[in-house]
Symmetry: C2
Subunit: 199 residues, 2 copies
């Protein structure tokens, strides 16, 4: 029999299901939550429910949004004919961080992964093709992660795009800025050599 209340165990169990949270840290978080002022704990619970309730997918780019069309798609200063395809909203954040991108996005919500049972139909690929088929797009930048599943997904989409009059590109591979040759892995070096450009 546990010496702690069952509602504590329940909370701790829920926390332990979050990604990267083990049993020990779940317990630590649960202790922290029950020692919060009531108002803070209520605000925390409300934030969870509120986020679940108000967040949906943008009707155009499928990124997270509180309105029918997200703030990026709705921004007249962004070029709607340049579409960057990312696997998830974290990709949108990463590209935005560069402050260099003036186009819009398309969020797939996953990558093709036969091992995890994710097929192209589970992703927002059909919605991307509809945007392209409607003639609304000049260029599609495939910006899935440079790993096996990301590249498989990018290749799959590139094949689907081939019949359309749309430029299909992908992000450059190479050495990370500020890194050192010494610590670069073989695959990265191979890619950096293959992608070498005139000086």
């Amino acid at each position: 029999m546990s010496v702690l209340p069952s509602s504590f165990e329940t909370l701790s169990d829920k926390l332990a299901k979050l990604p990267g949270v083990g049993r020990k840290s779940a317990q630590r978080l649960a202790f922290h939550i029950i020692s919060m002022p009531d108002a803070d704990a209520e605000a925390f619970a409300a934030a969870i429910l509120d986020a679940k309730k108000t967040i949906r997918e943008c009707a155009v780019c499928r990124n997270l949004s509180e309105s029918e069309v997200c703030t990026v798609c709705d921004n007249p200063r962004r070029d709607p004919r340049l579409v960057c395809v990312v696997s998830d909203p974290k990709g949108v954040l990463a590209i935005e961080r560069s402050r260099e991108y003036g186009g819009v996005f398309h969020v797939l919500h996953g990558v093709i992964s036969p091992l995890q049972g994710v097929s192209p139909n589970d992703l927002r690929i059909r919605e991307l093709m509809e945007r392209v088929a409607a003639g609304a797009v000049d260029e599609v930048i495939l910006a899935t992660n440079p790993d096996v599943e990301g590249e498989t997904t990018a290749r799959y989409i590139a094949r689907l795009l081939a019949p359309f009059e749309v430029r299909t590109t992908r992000l450059a591979y190479g050495l990370p800025s500020g890194s050192s040759l010494e610590f670069a892995d073989d695959a990265t070096l191979t890619r950096a050599l293959e992608g070498r450009v005139e000086y």
Copy 2:
């Protein structure tokens, strides 16, 4: 302007306030939560509110409890005259893990820390003294953490207990079981030497 909905940012901010959760992991947790099935997110929020609502301090030992008196204090097979004083409920869990302890507890809910503005009045020391003054206790084991604040707190309580007819003990210091001399720090080795016993 952020490209993510404000309710997402709110949730992410709340998560970032949890101990050991940085901005990046808060964002990752928030993404996980909004991709949960509705029922799971609702159960998570409910678990927070439920734990806050139902958990209080045991009237006797001040450990977390859902009832007036906790399951340890209420257990007739535990010796109520042997009281182990710990700084927080995690201490109760740790002592219980040893499966060797048959007494009861007293949870201080903190340690004396002038730097963090925690004085003896902020802890459940008065409640401990009331238990002792009522003549309900034969032995008090001081089991605060073996760090500066834990030892200060233990010494403070030991001084308060001196006038009473109660045995006051503390946990043994020494080498952790299964450890190696090579990696023991100086303070631990000093304590292990001081506490040496006949073979």
